[in-house]
Each structure stands twice: as structure tokens, then as C-alpha cells.
């Protein structure tokens, strides 16, 4: 079997063995089988990554045809190019680390095999998504990760809140998936195929009808398709308006949050836009929409992150915000920068989540930062790793010497936005800068609230605080290595001078797209301002939470409406509840009680009563047993028939 296929098949194998074996295997076997297979898949993906990015030769292994009816054809394939190779190492590295981490984190749980099987199943689906060579397989993976995400958010199904969050995630994603599905149908309608290569070739040779007719309107083809597909990306990547499920998804176990809701699944939307760069490049309006939505999300989610008290929710909003950065990078045409940030972010955000998991583990399951504090001496390793993650997130570094991972990727995103020299580019640039200040602020707020000052937890909890076991810490070191080195090592390849060789044909830049080049020629102040923004945020947080400790409360009081807006997440849940959920419930209740209960059931019961109880008994009573009654019925019958004919034909 070829190595590309093995990468995809190993997680499937693990999911099948552990999923079907379940309790018969026992906890340890389940953990070691899945983790072992994932570590193997991780090693193989790194091999493939260096192979592909070194040789620059993309390849596709077609496993077998999935279905073929007329021109509608889709195959199970493993497409390995630079783009999918980057995703492979991201997915498999983080996944392998999370698998190992889970051995420690979940060891108390009642259903370890189920958890491991879900995690591995998720990994398989994610790999199907990123290695697809057609829209249908991508959609399969897309829905597969949605399903695994649903299963894992609701993993503790005895908690009502977890079930509610799982359902919410599934339903909100349905909105996005509907757009995605429509987009795929549109692609088939316009191009007559759902395979990437012929579709891209048609676009690049200009072989696309400029518009199509929809309900009497002339709709520009590529713009419409790209926008529909982007709706799918918005749902999966929790962008503004479809973001509400992501913070609630933190109901799942923390390793899940790290793998699915930070590093991999939520970045699928970004990956999709980059994968479809040959289409998006020729849909300027759609690109502008991507930029605006991304920039708005980056800003909006950061404002919410400022005031949240749940340690995981802060990181969740941070994820949402960082995804916004990736999107607006892709929107201005800097796909390399978008993928670069996706890559670095996966390491440091997974690190942050797993550190948060370590903290929660240490605090006996407590997630509220108001009940933490003063534990940095008790769990120094976690504390140190958290610093690394946050420094990477805030994008700290010394220009020209060294920087944490986010320093390179976030800078290149902001520079690209500036280099777009367009209205939406500037909108994204400035919101991105403000967002960077807030990012650094809430990151250090998190550190100070969690680790510093007086302990606010109960004495008993404090007594139990302990450093996590090595099986949990070791993966953190691997991720920390990524947070420390991913930026400086791959900067030149992803967005620097070796960019063209690195990406090859995997990402397409239109002839008119000068953004990746211009990004290197921006004024000095543009290069420095992201770092300055990060340092400002750190300084503000340090002042407010370490020096002038009354300040946050005072500011919250002075700007109460703003504070409430942020604290209540801009009231999105409340608005959606009033706009969609309640009307849907009312309609559903009406259709259930009135439509189904009264009309459908009533009609069926009524009909059954009419035939079974009423007519049947009366018919049976006609059968008196008297011959003359029977003869009478026959005569009545013939009289009726003859009468009918005399009237019908007798005229």
C-alpha cells in the first residue's frame, strides 16, 4: 500500500478496531492502539510533507470510484500536493499529540474506548476532507468531521448542556453546509463535473459562462458559486453570524476542543478557500466578502474574549478571532499567509487548549477563572508552556532576529491586508491591528487571572493542585516546539522568498494579484505596528491585573453598555433565539400538536373508526341469513343499475 493511502487508512483502521471492539478491548488497549496508529500516521505525514515540498511534485492516488452516473463522477482519492501536505502534518501532529494527551486526561472516564474511537474517526474524516480531489469527497469529509464533532461535543451525554451544545453545533453547521451543498450543485451545473482539476482548468482557461439565469436574474457565475461555498466555510470555521456554536462546543472534553475546535476542523473553511483559490481569484466580490467577514469576525470575537470568565471560552473566542485573520488573508489573496497562520496557529492554539486542560485537571475540573489564581508555583511547567503559547498568539518577537510562531504569520497577514491597497484591505488591516491589541490583552488577562494573585479557589481544591503527569506534558512540549519554531523555520517557505517553489501549483494566484509580493514592500511602520499592538495589549493587561487591580471593574462600570455587550457576546444567542429558535419551536409545536396530532392522527383514527367500528359492523349486520333478504338485495341492485341506464341513455 502506498504511503499516502496509509496515512488516511491508519486512523480509519484505528477507529474501526476501537469503535467495534469498544469495551471488549479495554481502556488501555484502546488508548495504545489509537495513539500508536496516530503517531505512525504523524511520522508518515511528515515524510510526505518533506517529499512533496522538496520535490514540488503533486500526486493523486485514486483508490476506487465511489459512484459514476453519467458525467456525475466521484472517486475516493488521496490528493497530495503542498496544500494537503501542510494540512496532513497539522492534522496528524495535533491529533497524535491529543491522542497521547488524552491517555492522561481521560483516564478517569467511564468510556475511554468510545472517546478514542471518536477522536480517530474524526481524524480520518478530516484527512478525507483535506486529501479530496473532488467536491463530493470533500463534502463527505466535511460532514464526517461535523458528525464526529457532534459526537464529541456531546460525549458526556448525561449532561443536558453538552447535548444542547452538540445539537446547536450540528444545526448551525447545517446552515453553512446547505450553502456548501448548493455551491457543489452549482459547480456541477456550470462545469458538468465535481472534480477539482477539470473545474480549475475550465476557470483558468476562461471557459466559464459569465453568468447564469436564476429566477430571471442574471447571476455572475463564479461570484455566486464562491459565495455559496464560502457560506459553508463560514459555518465550519465559525465566522460571524454562524459563530455561535463554537463557544458552546467547549462543553466537550478539553482534548476535543484542542483538536477539533482549535487546530483542525474549524480551519477547514480556510483550507477550502485556499484549495479553491483558482475559483476565488476570479471572483473579486466574493473575495471582498471573505475579507470583510473575516476582519469583522477577528475584531468582534476579540471584543468578546476580553470579558469572558470561562478559561476555555476565552480561548474559543480567540480561536474564532484568529480564524477571522486567516480568512481576511485569503480574502485579499494572500493564501500563503492564510495557510501559514493556520499552520502556526494549530500548534500554539492546541498548546493553549491543552494547557488549559492541564489547569482544569489541576483545579479539579474548575473552568471559571474567577475561582483560580495563585497557582503558578504549583504547576510551573504548565505555566511556562502557557506563556509560550500566549507569546506565540500575541505575535511577540524581535524583528530580524527571532519571533514566536504567531509573530511571523500574523505579521504577514496584516502586511498582506495593507498591501492590498484597497478599501476592504484597509478595513481588515485596522480591525486586525485593534484585534491584535485585544488578543494580547485577553491572553495576559487569562494568565494573570489563572496563575497570579491570591488564590480564589477553595482550600480543598488548592490542596489538590498538582502538575499533570508526563503523558500529558510530553505532547505539550511537542506543540510548544511548534509554537517556538514553526514561524521562523517555515517563514521563507510559506510566505517568504521561496514561496513560489514551496506552493507550486497547489495555490493559484491570478496575474493581477500582487498582494504576496507587495506584502514584502510595505512601509516600516506597517511591519512594526503588529508587534507594537501586541506589546500594548500585554502592557495594558499587566497594568490592569497586576498593578492597578481595581481598574477592570472601574472600566466595566464606566463603560457598562459596552461591557455588557461584550460580556453577553453581542446578544447573538438571544437575537437568534428570538428570530429563529422560538418561531421554529412555535411552528414545530403547531405542526406536531395541530398538524400531526389533530389532523394526521385524527384522520387516521377517524378513518379506522369509520371502517372498523362503524361500517364493518353495519355491513356485517346486512348479512341476516334470510334468503329473501339476499334476493331482495340482488333485485335492488339490478333495479338501481337498470334505472341508472334508463336515465343515462333513455333520452
Amino acid at each position: 500500500m502506498n504511503i499516502d493511502v496509509a496515512i488516511v487508512a491508519l486512523p480509519l483502521l484505528g477507529a474501526l478496531i476501537v469503535g467495534l471492539g469498544n469495551r471488549r478491548l479495554g481502556d488501555h488497549a484502546a488508548q495504545y492502539i489509537t495513539s500508536g496508529l496516530m503517531l505512525l500516521a504523524m511520522v508518515l505525514s511528515w515524510i510526505v510533507f518533506f517529499d512533496v515540498t522538496g520535490s514540488g511534485v503533486a500526486r493523486t492516488t485514486e483508490i476506487f470510484t465511489w459512484f459514476e452516473t453519467g458525467t456525475f463522477r466521484a472517486a475516493w482519492a488521496v490528493r497530495i500536493d503542498q496544500l494537503s501536505a501542510v494540512m496532513l502534518i497539522v492534522v496528524n501532529t495535533v491529533s497524535a499529540m491529543v491522542h497521547v494527551y488524552s491517555i492522561g486526561y481521560m483516564h478517569h472516564d467511564k468510556s475511554v474506548p468510545r472517546f478514542m474511537a471518536y477522536l480517530t474517526l474524526f481524524t480520518f474524516c478530516m484527512l478525507m476532507l483535506v486529501t479530496a480531489d473532488n467536491f463530493i469527497q470533500m463534502f463527505f469529509g466535511w460532514e464526517g468531521v461535523g458528525l464526529s464533532s457532534y459526537l464529541l461535543i456531546g460525549f458526556w451525554f448525561d449532561r443536558p448542556s453538552a447535548n444542547a451544545a452538540a445539537i446547536k453545533a450540528f444545526l448551525v453547521n447545517r446552515v453553512g453546509d446547505f450553502g456548501f451543498a448548493l455551491g457543489i450543485m452549482g459547480v456541477f451545473l456550470v462545469f458538468g463535473t465535481v472534480e477539482f482539476k477539470p473545474v480549475f482548468d475550465a476557470v483558468l482557461t476562461g471557459n466559464v459562462p459569465p453568468s447564469f439565469d436564476f429566477l430571471g436574474y442574471q447571476v455572475p457565475t463564479l461570484e455566486a458559486l464562491c459565495l455559496l461555498l464560502f457560506i459553508g466555510a463560514m459555518g465550519k470555521s465559525a465566522q460571524l453570524f454562524l459563530h455561535t456554536w463554537l463557544p458552546d462546543a467547549m462543553e466537550g472534553p478539553t482534548p476535543v476542543s484542542a483538536l477539533i475546535h482549535a487546530a483542525t476542523m474549524v480551519t477547514a473553511g480556510v483550507f477550502m478557500v485556499c484549495r479553491l483559490s483558482p475559483m476565488f481569484e476570479y471572483a473579486p466580490i466574493a473575495k471582498d466578502v471573505v475579507t470583510i467577514v473575516g476582519a469583522s469576525t477577528a475584531f468582534f470575537a476579540a471584543t468578546i474574549g476580553l470579558t469572558q470568565n470561562d478559561i476555555k471560552r476565552v480561548i474559543a473566542y480567540s480561536t474564532c478571532s484568529q480564524l477571522g485573520y486567516m480568512f481576511f488573508a485569503a480574502g485579499v489573496g494572500a493564501y500563503g499567509a492564510a495557510m501559514f497562520h493556520l499552520f502556526t496557529h494549530a500548534f500554539f492554539k492546541a498548546l493553549l487548549f491543552l494547557c488549559a486542560g492541564s489547569v482544569i485537571h489541576a483545579m479539579s475540573g474548575e473552568q471559571d477563572m474567577r475561582k483560580m489564581g495563585g497557582i503558578y508555583k504549583l504547576i510551573p511547567i504548565t505555566y511556562g508552556l502557557m506563556w509560550i503559547g500566549n507569546l506565540a498568539l500575541a505575535g511577540v518577537g524581535i524583528p530580524g532576529v527571532y519571533g514566536f510562531a504567531g509573530f511571523y504569520s500574523k505579521d504577514s497577514i496584516l502586511e498582506s491586508a495593507f498591501a492590498a491597497h484597497s478599501g476592504v484591505g484597509m478595513y481588515a488591516f485596522w480591525l486586525g491591528i485593534i484585534g491584535a491589541v485585544m488578543t494580547a490583552f485577553y491572553s495576559w488577562r487569562l494568565i494573570y487571572l489563572t496563575f497570579h494573585n491570591q488564590p480564589r479557589a477553595s482550600h480543598e481544591v488548592m490542596h489538590h493542585v498538582h502538575e499533570s503527569p508526563w503523558v500529558m506534558l510530553a505532547p505539550l512540549f511537542v506543540l510548544a516546539a511548534g509554537a517556538l519554531g514553526a514561524g521562523i523555520i517555515w517563514y521563507e517557505s510559506f510566505v517568504g522568498h521561496h514561496m513560489a517553489e514551496f506552493w507550486g501549483q497547489a495555490v493559484h494566484f491570478a496575474a493581477t494579484n500582487h498582494v504576496p509580493h507587495e506584502a514584502h514592500n510595505v512601509p516600516l511602520w506597517v511591519k512594526l505596528i503588529p508587534l507594537f499592538a501586541g506589546l500594548t495589549g500585554i502592557a495594558l493587561a499587566s497594568y490592569a491585573y497586576m498593578v492597578q487591580k481595581g481598574l477592570p471593574a472601574a472600566v466595566a462600570g464606566a463603560l457598562r453598555p459596552l461591557y455588557l455587550l461584550s460580556y453577553n457576546k453581542w446578544y447573538f444567542d438571544e437575537i437568534y433565539d428570538a428570530l429563529f429558535v422560538r418561531p421554529a419551536l412555535v411552528l414545530g409545536r403547531f405542526l406536531w400538536k395541530g398538524g400531526d396530532g389533530a389532523i394526521v392522527d385524527g384522520a387516521i383514527n377517524g378513518f379506522a373508526w369509520l371502517t372498523g367500528d362503524y361500517l364493518a359492523k353495519r355491513f356485517a349486520r346486512l348479512q341476516t341469513g334470510y334468503v329473501y333478504h339476499y334476493a331482495f338485495v340482488m333485485l335492488i341492485g339490478i333495479v338501481a343499475l337498470v334505472t341508472w341506464y334508463i336515465f343515462a341513455f333513455g333520452k
Binding site: 371502517t611 361500517l615 355491513f619 340482488m634 339490478i638 343499475l641 341506464y645
Partner: protein, 479 residues
């Protein structure tokens, strides 16, 4: 008159053989008495088998007896089904009646004579021939219904059948005389020519009476009233015979009369058939729900089934007749199978016939329960069982002929009838068990297995049968 002496006896070989055989066996019976019952019985079965062979091998079509008798593919198909059903009925009747202590050599003979009557009905090409064939069949059946003359129920059934049958014969004859009066002919050939053009009212009234007489024989509503009582009163093997072979013959006759001589008047007779079909389907579906006796339930079931077959006739097309033939062939197998189970319902030698007696049958006699379940599902029209295809073909023909309302009513009533068919399954499989039945005798076992195989796997070999029935239906329209 084309030719005066066109006897063409060769075309009627099966009928002539049956007539000679029955007379010979009658002599044997008169000489040997009831001791020769088994011999006569098996000889009758053999005669029917030979008659089937004669029918099947002789593909010639044409007129015999100066145009009174017609042989064609349609007749051949219907005869084979009727003969086959009669043969199986004789086999089980011999066995079952012997168990009840009734050993009479007349029984197989009468059934044989009835079969001869059926054959003559199927091949009738003249109103007189029609009547003679019909009466030969009916008179034999009246006696057969009352064969257990020591029981009140059986004699009552025979008498009721006879009295009402006489009334229906009167209607039929009255209709025939009107038709003759208004057209001047009794021959189907000349009638067809005479009826072209605007039909007179007298002729239509005659047609109505004729149809009423035939509707009685197939027990279509409102001429069905005798059916539940006779089905319940007659001994079970006799009921099985009544429900199968005569229905096929009468239905074939009905189709021949309406498509042949009255083919031009299809706008007129279709209205009768539609009304009768709708009433039969509704009554068959609804009235059966209230039944507790399984034989009465089967009576209403046969009324409903006749309604479905009439849907094919109402279409009036070759596809419709094809559907009718297939439906009746499948119906015959299902009916014989179901009655075989009913005959197996004995406790300490005594037959029981309440639906509640079937409770928990799946635990005591799983094979029997599964067989009846298959028949019931087939009657309810569940694919891939044969009953589904019967319904499919008639409804399809009705749709093609534009009779949407009829098809919709048909589908709706089969939903209603599914209720009582499947309720029997429920009683057998989910109700608490009662005393088990006696061991099922070998003959019934064989009949059951054969019917189950045909009903369950018939669709695998349906192609050749459908080819035959299509050819049969086409032959009716050729003339």
C-alpha cells in the same frame, strides 16, 4: 352462416375427454359404490391432468360446434388455471372429507362435472352455450355445497346457493332473451356485428341483466350475498373449491362476453363494471374487519379480490385482461394455500374455524404460521410476494386506461384490507398460545409447500407466465 357442418371436434378435445371420463367414472361409481371413492377421486384428478395436457399441447385456435364453441389462447390459459385448481381441490377434498367420515364417490365426480362446465363456459361463443356451460357448473356446485346432507349447515348452504343461483340464472336468461330480441342473434360472432352503431336501450337493459347473472357467479357486490353464508356453511374443502376454480371460469366468461360481442359497447358496460368493482372492493375490505370466522373472512376477501380483478376488466384493454388473468391465477394459488391452512385447523379431529383459534400458532406450529403469514401478506399486496404483482398489473392497466379514480379506490381499499390480513399474522405471532392443532397431513403439507413456493418465489419465474397471459389476453382482442 359460413359452413353448416363445421363441428371441428378436435378443438374441443379436453372437454370431450372430460365428458367421456366423467361418464365412465360415473358408471364405475354406480357399480362400485362408495368403496371406489378413492379410485374415482384419483381417476378424476388424472382426468383433469390429462385435460390440462390436452389444453396445453393443442395450440390450435378456431370455432367448433358450428360456432358455439371457441378455442383460443385465452380459453387455454383460463382452463389450465381452472383445471389445476379443481385437481388440487379434489385431492385435498378426498383427504379431508375422509377424515370427517364422509366418503362419497359422487363428490369427485361432481367436481369433475363442474370442471367440465367451467371449460364450456370459458369456451362459450354463444349465449346458449354460455347458459348450458354455466348451468352444468352450477348444478354440480349446488349439490357439492350440500354434500354433507347430514348437517344443517351444509344443506342450508346448498339450498341458499341453489335458490339464489336460480334467481341469477333467471336474470341471465332474461337478459339473454332481451339481447336476442333486440339483435336477432345469440351467437357472439353475429352479435358483435349487430351491435356496431348506436345501441338500443333494450339491448343495454339486456346487457345489465346478463351482467347481473354473471356477477352473481363471481360474487361481486351487490350480487354477493350468498357468498359468506355458503362459504361458512359448506365443508371447508368444498369452500376452497368454490373460492378458486369457478371464480376463474366465471371471470373468464365475463371477460369474453364483454370484450367479444359487446366490445363496441364498452362505454356502456364499463359503468356497470366500475360500480360493481368499487362496491366489491369496499365491501370486501370493510366487512371482513368485523368477521370472527376465518371462512367468512375469506368469503369477504374473495369478494374484494374479485373487485380488484374487475378493475382489470373495467380497463377493457389487452393490458387490463392480462392483469385480470394474472390476478386470478395468483388469487387461485393464494386462496388454495390459505384454505389449506384452514383445513389444517383441527383439534382432536374436529375442525375449528375461528380466527382466535389461530392464537400463538407460531409457537406450536411455526411452519403453518409462516405459510399463512405469507399468504396473508401476499393478499395484502406486499412485494415481492405474488399478490403484489397481481394488484400491480390491474392497477397499472387501469391507470393506462385513464381510470384513475378506480385505481385510487383500489389502492385505498387494499390498505384497509391489509388491516385484517395482517391482524391474522398478529394473532398468530403475538397472541398467547392456545391448544395446538393436530399434525398436518401429508397432502396438505404438499399443497402448502407448493403454494408457498409459488407465492414467495413466483416473481423469479414470472416472465414466461406473463408471456402466456399476454398472448392469452391478446387473443381475446384478435377476433
Amino acid at each position: 352462416m359460413e359452413s353448416f357442418v363445421s363441428l371441428n371436434l378436435g378443438l374441443a378435445r379436453p372437454e370431450i375427454f372430460l365428458a367421456v371420463a366423467s361418464l365412465a367414472l360415473l358408471v364405475l361409481g354406480a357399480w362400485g359404490g362408495d368403496r371406489s371413492t378413492r379410485l374415482i377421486g384419483w381417476a378424476s384428478v388424472a382426468s383433469l391432468v390429462i385435460a390440462i395436457a390436452l389444453t396445453a399441447t393443442d395450440g390450435a385456435a378456431g370455432l367448433a360446434f358450428n360456432g358455439l364453441f371457441v378455442a383460443d389462447a385465452f380459453a387455454a390459459f383460463a382452463k389450465i388455471v381452472a383445471f389445476g385448481a379443481a385437481a388440487v381441490a379434489i385431492i385435498v377434498a378426498l383427504d379431508q372429507m375422509a377424515r370427517d367420515g364422509v366418503v362419497r364417490f359422487e363428490l369427485p365426480l361432481l367436481m369433475l362435472l363442474a370442471s367440465l362446465g367451467m371449460a364450456l363456459m370459458i369456451s362459450a361463443n354463444d349465449l346458449i352455450a354460455l347458459y348450458v356451460g354455466l348451468e352444468l357448473q352450477s348444478l354440480a356446485l349446488y349439490v357439492v355445497a350440500a354434500i354433507r346432507r347430514d348437517t344443517v349447515k351444509s344443506t342450508e348452504a346448498g339450498l341458499k346457493y341453489f335458490v339464489l343461483g336460480a334467481l341469477s340464472s333467471g336474470m341471465l336468461l332474461y337478459g339473454s332473451s332481451l339481447i336476442y330480441g333486440f339483435s336477432g342473434s345469440t351467437s357472439f360472432e353475429t352479435l358483435a356485428a349487430a351491435l356496431a352503431g348506436e345501441p338500443s336501450l333494450g339491448l343495454i337493459v339486456g346487457l345489465v341483466f346478463l351482467c347481473a347473472g354473471l356477477a352473481f357467479k363471481i360474487s361481486a357486490v351487490p350480487f354477493h350475498m350468498w357468498t359468506p353464508d355458503v362459504y361458512e356453511g359448506a365443508p371447508t374443502p368444498i369452500t376452497a373449491f368454490f373460492a378458486a376454480a369457478p371464480k376463474v371460469a366465471a371471470m373468464a366468461l365475463f371477460a369474453r362476453v364483454l370484450i367479444g360481442p359487446f366490445g363496441e359497447m364498452d362505454d356502456q358496460w364499463r359503468q356497470i363494471i366500475v360500480v360493481v368493482a368499487v362496491l366489491s372492493m369496499i365491501l370486501g375490505a370493510v366487512a371482513a374487519i368485523a368477521q370472527k370466522n376465518i371462512k367468512r373472512l375469506m368469503a369477504y376477501s374473495s369478494i374484494g379480490n374479485v373487485g380488484y380483478a374487475l378493475v382489470g376488466l373495467a380497463a377493457g384493454t389487452a393490458a387490463g385482461i392480462n392483469g385480470l388473468l394474472l390476478y386470478m391465477a395468483i388469487y387461485v394459488v393464494m386462496t388454495i394455500g390459505a384454505f389449506a391452512v384452514i383445513m389444517a385447523m383441527r383439534r382432536q379431529g374436529q375442525g375449528v374455524e375461528e380466527i382466535s383459534d389461530l392464537a400463538g400458532l407460531s409457537q406450536s406450529q411455526r411452519g403453518l404460521a409462516v405459510a399463512l403469514a405469507i399468504f396473508m401478506f401476499s393478499m395484502a399486496g406486499i412485494p415481492p410476494l405474488a399478490g403484489f404483482f397481481g394488484k400491480f398489473f390491474v392497477f397499472n392497466a387501469a391507470i393506462a386506461a385513464g381510470l384513475y379514480g378506480l385505481a385510487v379506490i383500489g389502492v385505498l381499499t387494499s390498505v384497509v384490507s391489509a388491516f385484517y390480513y395482517i391482524r391474522i399474522v398478529k394473532v398468530m405471532f403475538f397472541d398467547p398460545a392456545t391448544t395446538p392443532f393436530d399434525r398436518v397431513p401429508g397432502t396438505l403439507r404438499a399443497v402448502l409447500i407448493a403454494s408457498v413456493v409459488v407465492i414467495s418465489f413466483g416473481f423469479l419465474a414470472g416472465g414466461p407466465v406473463i408471456e402466456l397471459s399476454t398472448a392469452a389476453a391478446d387473443s381475446l382482442f384478435a377476433g
